[in-house]
Amino acid sequence: MDTASGGLLNPELAQWLIQSSYLVTAFLFIMGLKRMSSPVTARSGIVWAGAGMLVATLFTFLYPGMTNFEWMLPAIILGTALAWWTGKKVAMTDMPQMIALYNGFGGGAAAAIAAVELLGGEAMSLTTSTLAVVGALIGAVAFSGSMVAFGKLQGLIKRSFRFGGQNIVNLLVIIACVVLGAALVAGTLHGVPYVALFFALALLFGVLMTLPIGGADMPVVISLYNAFTGLAVAFEGFVMQNAAMIIAGTVVGSAGTLLTQLMARAMNRSLGNVLFSGFGDTGAAAAGSAVTGSMKPIEATDVGVMMAFAQKVIVVPGYGMAVAQAQHKVWELCQLLIERGVTVKFAIHPVAGRMPGHMNVLLAEAGVPYDLIADLDEINAEFETADVALIIGANDVVNPVARTDKSSPIYGMPILNADKAKNVVVIKRGQGAGFSGIENALFYLDNTRMLYGDGQAAAAQLIHAVKALG
């Protein structure tokens, strides 16, 4: 089979077919992404893009001079089967780390392409070899960085590693990597050991860069690495003279950069701030000391009465709700309230869940219709007219210090003004601080009551309490 150099068709026809198929693929990808950007057509979008991928992959087998099919087919089957299986099996709440994982694979693949090209030692122009090395660097960083992001979100890496002079060490590693890369391009250094060292340094840099970043900032980082992988693919596409890779990689590179900015803006952080400063290092203690008063507990039956006789209830769900798998129970509770004539709305912070839009997906999974879900700009004026704001598993996104306390690290972040509601009920597991480690002033307000317990159990109690009212 590997002797079939020249392929099945004559090379010119094969080339024509391949390039045409790539044109079709590029069209399907862009149309697919376009369709994915509207809720009405979103589902067909991924099917379009999927068709594009299938077309490109099948026609690539026709490439003149291709060999090693006995390596290629098992690799494709292995990668596809493993990813398909894990992707089907994983829970909706774990989607962000799966995106990180698969994205890392893409970056690793781009780096591997560059490695094969560099090891092959075939003559490349200065431009081509520069692009190969730059793509390799970006791809390798995206790979190891995404793996760390995956490990953190999956709970495999529990702490953030920080030490003095960390940024300087990172800088030295990346400088060494770039210098070595330049030497490879110039041809002053070549051979397996130097190529291996170059990749080792690039991978190390990805790890070092990602380890100090806190879990709350991971979505922004994953999105950034997604853009990185896109760019790496585009650069390797230049090297391989492959238009499909150039177009798809560049589209993802620019779309991913924009998405990253949108996410960072939603968290009121600049990208540089996310990458180079450990969150909560400086301001957390100061913000904690500013909070006075006490947390006031409440029983589920009292909350049931409060909500059943309310005119308007606004639910503020957070990642904690999703972790407790409480969204189905919460929706059941809301349906009971709606039957009693209560107006119920869900208020979604842009970074509720782990990524922008993640919470909407989780609520949609539970069956909550779209017109009950409002985002921050729509809902914030309505809290003043709400009788009850029910906070489930959300913390930093409802912390009023973001409006008032200049010393707080989250100062200036747009928040949901849940504190303006007549009554605030917070369902919370215990008395600890949020993901960012910042004390929440909302919990200490006079109109706030704490309902301690697991999100799902608490929601079940509330359902029981409302039903008991008849």
Binding site: F29, L33, M36, S37, P39, R43, A49, G50, M53, T60, N68, F69, W71, A75, I76, I77, L78, G79, T80, A83, W84, M95, M98, I99, Y102, N103, G106, A109, A110, A112, I113, V116, L119, V192, G230, A234, E236, M240, Q241, A243, A244, I246, A248, T250, V251, V252, S254, G256, L258, L259, M355, P356, G357, H358, V361, G367, P369, D371, I373, D375
Partner: protein
């Protein structure tokens, strides 16, 4: 006729594709950010064709090994990206059907 992409043409492609990517994402509602990130993650799975070509032209065992890993990872990127995106977007169907009047 072997198709080659000269430097300048490549730059044109790069520029136009960058604009296309920006425009496609620019007016997206927040609810679709995560599915879109996942969708774009799938799209760069096209690296699979590059990995296949690299492996298809590899000579030494080391090159073949690296190529094998590259193809397997690229296939994982494409397949995983597809499944995850499809599962997320599946949610949008159910709510759309329940609420035919919703806009």
């Amino acid at each position: 006729m072997i198709v080659t992409i000269s430097g300048l043409v490549a730059l044109y492609i790069f520029m136009l594709a960058a604009f296309a990517g920006y425009e496609v994402i620019a007016k997206v509602p927040v609810i679709l950010h995560t599915p879109l990130m996942s969708g774009s993650n799938f799209v760069h799975g096209i690296v699979l064709v590059g990995a296949m070509i690299a492996l298809g032209n590899a000579h030494t065992t080391l090159e073949k090994l690296v190529g094998f890993v590259g193809v397997a990872m690229a296939a994982g990127n494409a397949a995983g990206g597809y499944v995850v995106t499809e599962r997320m977007l599946e949610m949008f169907k159910s709510s759309g059907q329940k609420k035919p009047g919703a806009h």
